[in-house]
């Protein structure tokens, strides 16, 4: 088979891939995503995990170490079957936060910190470089197998392959101006490649097992007879490798790209959870047989990494060999394309864009399309990455076994895992912790794994391996801290991840996160509880126009205008510019983050809005759950206490109302009684008189008298009621003037004088000579009432009334003391209440309002009236108005 034919077929294959990709992009652009967006495509796109390393290297690995090769597939299998634990969460976070890469995830989680983004990007670049070199190496080697002239310049072939891959990737991966959209074309192409490599490997496997070995039974005999039959599994490597491949599966930039970034539906994960392990299962099923047969059949010294190609060629199966070659080619190209896209995105978002942004004079508001900057930086990054890969390939001499290079890359990317897992499960993880862990892990990996990979003496002098740098033996690259005898890989994985995790935890515990970090932490850890991310925008004086200008440059004019118009419409505004609400900013930031990464998007918006503030409300959401529950229950408690207080107040108010109502009822009832009683007599006697019944004239006279008296009683009652009502409502007008106390007493006594004159009144006129400034009529009314009460109620045989004037400190007082039996203790307390008459109310001849009226009057006059117990009889004390009471 000619080398030229091989090249032609390769180019044809690439054209076919291009056609697929182009067709898929067209379909997607037309909105007919359909089955492009299916779980099958998703699963197949995951197969970029299986690189040329897998395709060729696994067989070589198996030929050297037996079953150990399978650990590289078992780790991812465990991650996939455990999708419910980790991947589901990761995919959900990726979607809600619009994560563009693993560096973006770490950066976004730890407060949109670009420092972390840069760190992870650097790690990714350094770790991806040997991996790309690995692909170059395998493609180059496979080309070389077909080369007619042995000893062709390998480096030259590798260079051509690198350039070709770079062009291919740039064409595929950055063809889209819309950097935000899913790479439907690329995904389609790698899905096709996934099928090709699976079919190729299965075909070779079937050929080997069923044709060369003669069936599964004889195959097992061949294995048992081969040099690898007794390769026992080394437990420490076995365990470490399963763990390492699992970690790498999550952290490798290209895996993150297809698994999280390109994921459009979480349900695809459910399908991939069994379908992808099945793919891996099939990919590895024939690896050991191929290795065993290859070792058995091919001449000693053949490179086992190329058994997949050399076995068919040995038996002149050119077509099968060609298929195998295409399988290997597919593995290499798909890996390089996706890895380059993923890493280029990181480089562009976390290194180029921030630098470009800071160098722009006018900040983010200057006009001009940013997208070309993004695209250009990505294209350059892809080219640079492949250049780096090529250089690594040349430097490392292309000598290392494929598997060894792959594992170095794995170990490098696995350094991100502590920060990633910690970040999505542990709220306490902080930026400082993540930075510390990554730095420590990165450094140890470089020292103990990456640099030694260049060959025993190329970068690190042999003396350093033996004695450590500067003679510090505990820093020997492959015997850190003096622990010798460990497998170099196990050694590197163990120390780097252990110290990485330790630093991450320790510094997280010791540092305090910023509010934005805490917000993001809560949003990540609780992604299933509130799928909306915590808002970071409050206030800010962003002008919608500036924002639109900036957005146009990132996501394109038409899309940005549509976005703004849609928001304006949602806000119920006419025109195209919405109000700049925090919610709008949040959405816009996430939209932009899909293009340029969270940190850059955040920084750009910050330039326009003039800073981000986190409101107390937002912090409330950050407050951990326990706190929230506590606050919730505190609020509840406060509310219920408040309710309790309100209820009590209501209860009290109600009681007052009821009491008032009872009082009113009682009062009305009393008035009714007081009115009806005289009316009863009046009506009865007037009916008697009207009927003209025979009766003595004196009887008639007497009945008329009763009617007359009761009428007067009614009138008096009404007068009293009106008087009291006026007094109680404060409507009374006082005619104040200069008056003499003795004059008022004279008036009162004169008014109450009865013809029979049984009551003896004793006075002390000397002391009564007091001049007052008050309403004389009202005061006289009080005195009259008191004197007439004595007349009515004093039960002594010779009723006497003493009127005594004295003073009670500053106040003048007038006591009215009779010689009767007084008022009983229980009556004493209610004596001033309305209708609270003494026992024999008939005798009172009044309505029982007298004393109530007196009390009201004295209140109005600024004095007081009280009952004084413990005197010889009933004793009432009138305290005269203070201010104007002056001795004459």
């Amino acid at each position: 088979m000619s080398f030229n034919l091989l090249v032609t077929i390769c180019l044809l294959y690439v054209v076919v891939l291009f056609a697929f990709a182009f067709w898929a992009d067209k379909r997607a652009a037309a909105g007919r995503v359909g089955w492009l967006n299916s779980p099958l495509i998703y699963t197949l796109s995951l197969s970029i995990y299986c690189t040329a390393w897998t395709f060729y290297g696994a067989v070589g690995y198996a030929a050297r170490s037996g079953m150990e090769f399978v650990t590289i597939y078992l780790g991812p299998t465990l991650v996939m079957v455990g999708w419910w634990v980790l991947l589901r969460r990761l995919v959900r976070i990726g979607r809600t936060q619009r994560i563009t890469s693993i560096a973006d995830l770490i950066s976004s989680r730890f407060g949109k910190s670009n420092m972390l983004g840069v760190l992870v990007t650097l790690l990714a670049v350094v770790a991806t470089t040997p991996y790309i070199a690995l692909q170059l190496q395998s493609v180059t080697l496979s080309f070389n197998v077909f080369a007619t002239t042995p000893g062709a310049n390998l480096n030259q072939t590798a260079f051509v392959v690198a350039v070709g891959l770079a062009a291919f990737t740039i064409l595929f991966g950055t063809r889209n101006l819309d950097v935000n959209a899913h790479h439907h074309g690329v995904v389609m192409a790698i899905a096709v490649e996934a099928v090709v490599k699976l079919i190729a490997l299965l075909a070779v496997g079937i050929f080997v097992v069923f044709i060369l070995a003669g069936g599964p039974g004889p195959m097992l005999d061949v294995i048992a007879a081969s040099p690898i039959a007794e390769q026992t599994i080394r437990p420490e490597r076995w365990t470490v490798l399963i763990g390492l491949s699992a970690m790498a599966f999550i952290c490798l930039p290209r895996m993150f790209q297809v698994m999280v970034v390109e994921n459009s539906d979480e349900r695809h994960l459910a399908t991939a959870s069994w379908a992808f392990p099945l793919y891996l299962f099939l990919m590895s099923l024939f690896v050991l047989p191929i290795a065993a047969v290859g070792l058995n059949v091919l001449p000693a010294g053949s490179n086992p990494d190329l058994f997949v190609l050399t076995l068919p060629l040995e038996f002149d199966r050119n077509t099968l060999a060609m298929l195998a070659f295409l399988g290997g080619f597919s593995s290499a190209t798909s890996m390089v394309i996706v890895a380059a896209i993923a890493v280029a995105t990181m480089v562009s978002n976390h290194i180029v864009m921030p630098i470009w942004l800071s160098r722009q004079q006018g900040g983010a508001t200057v006009s001009g399309d940013v997208r070309h900057v993004v695209i250009t930086s990505r294209r350059l990054s892809i080219a640079a990455l492949l250049a780096l890969g090529y250089m690594y390939y040349v430097y490392s001499g292309g000598s290392g076994a494929l598997a060894a290079i792959g594992l170095i890359a794995f170990t490098g990317m696995a350094q991100v895992l502590p920060a990633l897992v910690g970040g999505i499960f542990w709220r306490g993880a902080t930026r400082t912790g993540a930075a510390a862990g990554l730095t420590v892990g990165f450094a140890i990996w470089l020292w103990s794994s990456f640099l030694p990979s260049f060959g025993d003496a190329s970068l690190i002098p042999a003396s350093v391996y033996a004695e450590g740098p500067f003679g510090l033996s505990y820093l020997r690259p492959q015997a850190l801290f003096g622990i010798e005898g460990l497998d170099p890989l196990v050694h590197a994985v163990f120390w780097s991840l252990l110290l990485n995790t330790a630093a991450f935890c320790l510094f997280s515990l010791l540092s305090f996160p910023s509010p934005l970090e805490r917000l993001q932490g809560a949003a990540f850890v609780n992604v299933f509880r509130y799928s909306e991310s915590a808002p970071g925008w409050t206030g800010g004086a962003a002008e919608a126009e500036d924002l639109l200008m900036m957005s146009q440059r990132i996501i394109g004019a038409s899309e940005a205008q549509a976005l703004f118009a849609e928001e304006a419409k949602a806000q119920g505004k006419l025109g195209y510019l919405p109000d700049v609400t925090p919610a709008f900013l949040e959405g816009l930031e996430r939209k932009l983050a899909g293009s340029v990464g969270a940190a850059t998007a955040h920084a750009m918006l910050m330039q326009i809005t003039g800073g981000v503030t986190v409101s107390v409300e937002d912090l409330m959401r950050v407050a951990d759950e326990a706190q929230q529950i506590l606050e919730y229950s505190n609020q509840l408690e406060a509310k219920s206490q408040e309710l309790g207080r309100t209820a009590q107040q209501l209860q009290e108010a109600n009681e007052k109302l009821v009491a008032l109502s009872v009082q009113k009822d009682g009062f009305l009832s009393q008035i009714s009684h007081e009115l009806r009683t005289p009316m009863t007599s009046i009506r009865s006697f007037s009916e008697i008189l009207m009927r003209g019944e025979t009766m003595a004239p004196e009887e008639r006279q007497r009945y008329s008298q009763i009617i007359h008296d009761e009428a007067i009683r009614l009138t008096r009652l009404l007068d009293d009621l009106l008087d009291l009502s006026v007094l109680e409502n404060g409507q009374v007008t006082l005619n104040n003037g200069e008056v003499q106390l003795d004059a008022i007493l004279d008036r009162a006594i004169a008014a109450t004088e009865q013809p029979d004159g049984v009551l003896t009144i004793s006075r002390d006129r000397m002391r009564e000579a007091i001049s007052l400034y008050t309403d004389s009529d009202r005061l006289a009314q009080v005195f009259i009432n008191l004197i007439s009460n004595v007349q009515k109620y004093c039960d002594a045989d010779d009723p006497e009334l003493r009127i005594e004037v004295g003073d009670n400190g500053s106040r003048k007082i007038v006591d009215f003391i009779d010689n009767g039996s007084g008022v009983s203790a229980e009556a004493e307390s209610v004596i001033f209440e309305k209708f609270s008459r003494g026992t024999d109310h008939r005798a009172a001849g009044g309505a029982g309002l007298g004393l109530a009226i007196c009390r009201e009057i004295m209140k109005r006059l600024g004095g007081d009236i009280s009952y004084v117990s413990g005197q010889s009889g009933a004793a009432f004390r009138v305290t005269l108005p203070a201010a104007q009471a002056a001795a004459a």
Partner: protein, 89 residues
């Protein structure tokens, strides 16, 4: 568990209880798988180890396949009732 403190009822209905346990089962699969795969070292011959590993692998695929089909309706819905991480502090 603290998840019961808010508006969630103390006991779930039978159906959602089943679905929760389905999720628990899905969480157990990778760890069970890991333990089984770590036992591969017990085989002394490569052929024996190979057969054992592929059998375990196949079982894992079938089990997670069955579980995932039944878990699929649960994804995409944001209202996962049970917090997968207990509240901190």
């Amino acid at each position: 568990m603290a998840g019961a403190t808010r508006k969630q009822p103390m006991f779930l209905e039978r159906e959602s209880y089943r679905r929760r346990r389905l999720g628990d089962a899905a969480r157990l699969v990778p760890f069970t798988g890991l333990v089984l795969l770590l036992l591969s070292g017990l085989w002394t011959t490569t052929a024996g180890a190979m057969i054992y590993i592929f059998v375990v692998w196949a079982i894992l695929i079938v089990v997670i396949g069955v579980l995932s089909v039944r878990l699929m309706p649960l994804t995409e819905d944001s209202d996962e009732a049970e917090p997968s991480v207990p509240p901190e502090r």
